[in-house]
């Protein structure tokens, strides 16, 4: 895994080595094993490398036979061996055995159509000197990031936004609409980001820069052609696809470890890896002092069964607050949960134990309807078909079993879900979550409210839905919304790529093989959610690979402490400063009097519900984000990384 950055100028006026050096310095955590640059009259490229495949030969920027096509690349193309063979047969000559070089020749051979052939997680920039174009692309599900900005008529691009700002040519400014999306969906919706003028290339998309213009295209779209009945061989097919996906993701010249949450998905990945890996498996888990959040019992059960060498990152009082400024720096966005912080520490532990590649279970809940949100959607539809039923709403008491039992009883719990919106609304499934998250906006300053007066993030999302969305079943609509609003821009980004790459650790996601997604998308919903039993077919197909108590275990979402992380009972010094009225007034995002009320309730131990917990995290993270990126412009203070010229 790596990071890259670059610029494509409209006019051939050159690119300073120091500019590329500063951009690379901002990404150095992503690739501590090496770095290189190319600087031509129009285009400059910088790369920082985490060596995983062809450790000796994969340095970048990397060119084709005559150096007319150059690539900088972050990610993995798992089927690179097959593509290598195909391209050699077509007459291409390779100098390395890296997947990076496969990209160069694949581009020469197939042009942008190469993207259909790649199975992997990637973002890259290819500079074609023959026609002075830069071709940017990102993987189907958005595992790897790619940000860009057009400033001064030139295209700037990078794996993280901070590298754009480090150039000194792209200004870090607030995008209030992007912030409002974070406080609705948990993340800004690509292409929008929380920085004005900075875009995120959408998953499954590419862009071509030529003659000072950027043209966009999409090569992959999520679709749910749901079958009426489950195919007879579905269980066997699923098992085979999953084993194949794990097998591909074990392709590496360094040992591959596994994150083990204690749930079904990561356990399956680790179990398959333990069978196929040439190395003794090393597994890594987060544990919490708070027993409500802790899953160590199940983690140890799986680790023992797999005979893995198991390492644990304990999260105790003060840990989240201690690393939270670094977490926000790497995430580059305000957050509404602290859950990325333990992942940041877990990546640190993983790297300290010599592992730089880990398998992890993200994607399974979206593919196989694992989250309670899907049950909630089914139950809301069931209840709304007989709105006067007294018994049906009681079924809501079976949802979210990890929350306080008393708060899950009675009229209020059921009404919260039933009053959230109509099934005719395309966002029906997600309205309870979106509405709950949006309560953060109660703390907005008057100025921010006024700025956003014409903004409606829900309407914008409705308008952006694909035309076939209305043809999908309610559960598949929910699955789609989960993929595009949460998985890609938050779970894989702020909580995924940005946390693991902060320590030079690459996550690999067996459930996000596009063939597995397409298989799951064709299954009838009842194969996945049977009554209120989630991931039914997954349990049938591979449940035997894990201890039965894990195989039958209901979904336990990964959570981290929120208010107690910052008020224990006194706040950390930086939290006190950030929440002080004078700082809030200077920043202008939140109303000081409202925040003072929240702080009083935190001190008194009364801020225990979702609304206030998420508000604390949102306000602390937004103020940190503002301080680091907007007020102090920290990315511009970096010293350039001295970089060897590897191509040109």
């Amino acid at each position: 895994m790596c990071g890259f950055a670059g610029v494509a100028r409209r006019e051939p006026r050159g690119v300073a080595a120091a500019t590329l050096g500063r951009m690379a310095a901002a990404l150095r955590h992503r690739g501590p094993d090496g770095h290189g640059r190319y600087a031509g009259p129009r285009v400059g490229l910088a790369h920082v490398r985490l060596s995983i495949i062809d450790v000796a030969g994969g340095a970048q920027p990397l060119g084709n036979e005559d150096g007319s096509v150059l690539v900088v690349y972050n990610g993995e193309v798992y089927n690179y061996r097959e593509l290598h063979a195909e391209l050699v047969a077509a007459g291409h000559r390779f100098r390395t055995r890296s997947d990076t070089e496969v990209l160069v020749h694949a581009y020469e051979q197939w042009g942008p159509a190469m993207l259909d052939r790649l199975n992997g997680q990637f973002a890259f920039a290819i500079y074609d000197r023959r026609n002075e174009t830069v071709f940017l692309a990102r993987d189907r599900f958005g595992v790897r990031p790619l940000f860009y900005s057009i400033a001064g008529g030139d295209l700037w691009f990078a794996s993280e936004a901070k590298a754009l700002f480090a150039s000194g040519e792209v200004a870090a400014e607030i995008d209030p609409v992007g912030l409002d999306q974070v406080f609705t969906f948990w993340a800004a919706r690509p292409p929008r980001t929380v920085f004005r003028g900075v875009s995120s290339l959408e998953p499954g998309c590419f862009a071509v820069w030529q003659d000072g213009r950027l043209r966009h295209g999409r090569y992959y779209e999520l679709d749910y052609p749901e079958a009426g009945e489950e195919p007879g061989d579905a269980v066997a097919t699923l098992r085979s696809l999953l084993a194949g996906s794990v097998g591909l993701r074990l392709r590496s010249d360094v040992p591959v470890g596994g994150y083990l949450s204690g749930g079904l998905d990561s356990s399956i990945g680790c179990a398959l890896a333990a069978r196929e890996s040439p190395y003794a498996l090393r597994t890594f888990s987060v544990t919490f002092d708070d027993p409500e959040l802790d899953e160590r019992y199940f983690q140890l059960l799986v680790a023992q069964e797999l005979h893995s060498q198991h390492f644990v990152q304990g999260i105790g009082p003060g840990d989240v607050a201690r690393v939270f400024p670094d977490v926000v720096w790497h995430a580059e966005t305000p957050l509404v949960r602290t859950a990325p912080a333990p992942m940041y520490l877990l990546a640190q532990l993983t790297r300290e134990h010599g592992i730089k590649v880990v398998l992890t279970g993200e994607g399974s809940d979206e593919l196989f309807l694992g989250y309670d949100l899907f049950k909630e959607t089914a139950l809301r539809l069931f209840c709304l078909r007989q709105p006067h039923s007294r018994s049906r709403p009681r079924l809501f008491e079976r949802l979210y079993p990890y929350l306080d039992a008393r708060s899950r009883r009675g009229d209020f719990w059921g009404r919260f879900f039933l009053d959230a919106g109509s099934p005719d609304d395309p966002l029906f499934s997600h309205l309870p979550r979106f509405q709950l998250t949006a309560r953060i906006k109660d703390f907005y300053s008057g100025d921010l409210r006024a700025t956003l007066a014409q903004d409606d993030p829900l309407d914008e999302l409705r308008a952006a839905l694909p035309s076939r969305f209305s043809d999908w079943s309610p559960l598949n609509r929910a699955a789609y919304l989960e993929m595009v609003t949460l998985l890609s821009p938050y779970l894989l980004a702020a909580q995924g790529d940005r946390m693991s790459l902060a320590h030079g650790v690459e996550g690999r996601f067996p459930f996000l093989d596009h063939r597995l997604f397409e298989f799951a998308a064709r299954l009838p919903a009842q194969s996945k959610l049977r009554g209120l039993h989630e991931k039914a077919i997954l349990r049938r197909a591979v449940g035997d690979l894990v201890p039965s108590s894990v195989g039958q275990r209901p979904k336990q979402p990964y959570r981290a402490p929120d208010v107690p992380a910052f008020f224990n009972p006194e706040p950390a010094e930086y939290v006190r400063e950030l929440l002080d009225g004078s700082n809030l007034a200077r920043t202008g995002l939140f109303e000081p009097a409202a925040v003072a009320g929240l702080v009083r309730r935190c001190h008194a131990g009364l801020a225990t519900g979702f609304r206030e917990s998420q508000a604390v995290v949102a306000i602390v993270s937004a103020e940190l984000w503002h301080r680091q990126f907007i007020a102090e412009r920290a990315a511009m203070q970096l010293d350039p990384l001295p970089m060897p010229v590897l191509a040109g």
Partner: protein
């Protein structure tokens, strides 16, 4: 304590606890707390704690209904009834 007093104290509590961040919010005594986004199910638990500490009223699980706790006026009426019945019974 009579019902208007209970209503006034409950109104003050709700503003202080659930509406401190929305100072301009106008909440009528008959406005539904859930539908107007004032309270959620976790908030209901907090409200129940308040009714116990402030008025000595223990709310049983069966009594956690919109009929009893749906509006400020409903809450005041419920607490007054419970008070009249000794704080632990009532029709709910």
């Amino acid at each position: 304590m009579d019902e208007p007093d209970i209503l006034a104290r409950t109104r003050a509590y709700v503003h202080e606890t659930f509406l401190y961040m929305r100072p301009g919010f106008v909440l009528g005594d008959s406005d539904r707390l859930l539908q107007r986004g004032v309270i959620d199910s976790m908030g209901v638990m907090e409200l129940i704690g308040f009714l116990r500490s402030e008025f000595g009223v223990v709310v049983s699980d069966e009594d956690i209904t919109e009929q009893n706790l749906g509006t400020l006026a409903d809450i005041a009426g419920y607490v007054a009834r419970k008070g009249a019945n000794g704080g632990n019974g009532g029709p709910g």
